[in-house]
Symmetry: D2
Subunit: 235 residues, 4 copies
């Protein structure tokens, strides 16, 4: 989330094309403390007004247990990012709410550790955990991360939790995102997360990996075919 | 290839279910010099007689430039295995033939290096190179390798060479192979290579990753649907 | 820390052999929520009484910003473990104290990211950050992690912060620990952290990598020689 | 090896400073077939005349079994490079000679696989194998490879073969090479291999990692101290 207008455009467009959740970064995890850190509470207001307008549920990233309380009334799903997968103190606090938790895999987490991290939430009494594969760190430099689709059927065989795939972070290259969305569906993923931006070249962070509206529309059209071939549906 | 009967059964069955190439390991690359090293020239005779019977082209692995000449009359495609991707002396010699070369990606090769290895064959005058992604080495232990499907569209954008995917070696776990075959097709691969064994539990090498006949048949039925959804066909 | 007696023995012995800091795990980060999680506040009492007796400064791991306040009076150094290196919310809170922070490198953190994580503490006004290399995740399975000693001179060329090396976690194999302590000193590290246990075979966690008292003594004797050869001293 | 004069300068200088082997790349392994591939037989003549003049034994890289015979009379040690560690056909042929083989670890080889590769030479009857750790591929980008010094004591505990360390390739950054030479000695390595160039900035390949004469001299002076502290000697 960078400004209110950009947010509205992206929200409306993606909803028309089949998106089911609105995700807005309010506080942004950044490796460098000098980088753009998100807009904080100002964005929260914009997002929650757009959420009502579009009647779309809102997902936002949580990085600090002390933010849970103020966000609880407006947020429909908390996202725990890849760098916080091992933040067990945070996971335990989220386990004490009933709000769904989107738990991204740590970029160097063993799949085994990822399932155990989910246990930290589940054990506290919150059964609403959704897993999200988002690429792992390897020696390969052609892609920002290596999207580990083989882990999707591995997790599905061991857990009843839904599994999403995030090809935007998983590859870091927008040209590869559509093919990886289709592959994720064929691998058995229950959903995908993709970054969309009205003008990817101008995005303040992660622009290189965001889809334009046009590319998103084309991706979704083909995705419907693959999902149907797998005997499932987008609706 | 372990014995003549096992070979015939696997060849007949897979052909009936849509396989287009017969692959038989005559000399086998093994990490441990004390392991089963393949049957050598005896297997060559069996394979070449089965090849005629089934009218299927024969692929075999080549590990030594001095084997090219005796194999040339019977082999329809030379496979360069993951451990020989950097064996430029071998690649150059294969470049002097016109026999197609199936070049597997080194399990720690940058995609860039893989394309450059193909150049070693192409530069010598042999244009018939087929690439095969077969998984890379990462920290993850749930799978034997991490199948890098994101590299498929990356390569397709940079090269006209066909790209296959080998989910058997790519995951090392037979239960994950079907989902990865479907995902490979959705990612844009031009073909897949899978290991099939009449009785995977009894296989002398790599049994854990081979599909039974039944699993192969089910995988192929679903694969047809995904390939069709992608606007392509298996035939 | 498992019991009071074990703690006293290890503290006295290592001090006699040159140890300069007492490290006791009060709350233990565990991947599996069902594992031994540390003794909590009971251990805090034991440790702080031993600390007075031996006049050794106390280091303990911090995993939750809400624990800073109760620990502040007794703790001389907070350790941020490998899984919390990206926990910027915690790092910022530690930056508001003046207590030294031992920042372990994330097991998949780029060295660049590690220095930026240190910035999160420094920027808040706490200049007392000590870095600690503790091994990274790679494909190699002979050791639990791959100790990245090359990063020691890399960091020393870019930062004035002291750099420690932890060969116990870095290799996960006690037999390799002494050689890696000596190598760390020769690489220019400012100190080492090693796990010592009166009876490594009986340790409740990480026993496989702990040194016995005897092995610790022999390691330290040789370490003095290497440190001296490097023109430095242990005192 | 790029020209005769450069070779002589480097040979004379390093010998005076304690070098014991002359290594000259005659045929060079290059990832890109369009890169500088070494000077071939012309360099062989220069090197063999310098070898006589300096009375230093000659090491050269071998990439093709068919080159063994012409090189046998002049070469004192064959180096098998990191990309050929799995080239078992080549290793078997070298096993049929008595010439020592310097076997570099594959940049993604498990230490276990490296020892098994050595077995391919040993089993054929050639007991003269020297191992060389030269860095492995990891996610870290600060260094070209991650030098795995922990594997040195691991190998020493399992094998009687000598183990060298190559910090030039192991780090790919000349500023880090001296510290890694000292660390290798402290880790128990039996020797080190370093690249030296009269004018590193002008080197046609790998210049970034080569030491200048001055840096080499300073490194050797400190190395003597570390080796002595370890109870060994350079002579």
């Amino acid at each position: 989330v960078e400004d209110q207008n950009q947010l509205r455009l992206a929200g409306e467009f993606t909803q028309k094309n089949g998106a089911r959740l609105l995700r807005g970064g309010i506080f942004k995890m950044r490796t460098d403390p000098a980088s753009f850190q998100g807009l904080g509470l100002q964005a929260l207001e914009w997002i929650s007004s757009l959420k009502k307008e579009l009647s779309m549920p809102l997902v936002t990233e949580i990085t600090d247990a002390r933010h849970i309380e103020p966000l609880l009334p407006v947020v429909d799903m908390f996202q725990v990012g890849t760098r916080n997968m091992y933040n067990y103190a945070l996971l335990k606090e989220l386990g004490k709410t009933k709000t769904p938790v989107l738990l991204k895999r740590g970029f160097s987490a063993l799949a085994e550790e990822w399932l155990l991290a989910a246990e930290y939430v589940l054990k506290e009494g919150n059964p609403n955990v959704v897993l999200c594969e988002r690429g792992i760190r390897t020696f390969e430099k052609a892609t920002r991360n290596t999207l580990d689709l083989g882990i999707v059927p591995w997790v599905k065989a061991r857990s009843d939790l839904p599994v999403l795939v995030d090809p935007s972070h998983g590859t870091g290259v927008s040209a590869l995102v559509p093919a990886m969305c289709w592959a994720a569906a064929a691998a058995g993923a229950d959903g995908i997360m993709v970054e969309v931006h009205p003008d990817p070249a101008k995005a303040k962070s992660d622009g290189y990996q965001a889809l334009s509206f046009e590319a998103f529309g084309q991706m979704m059209a083909q995705l419907r075919q693959v999902v149907k071939a797998m005997g499932r549906s987008l609706d």
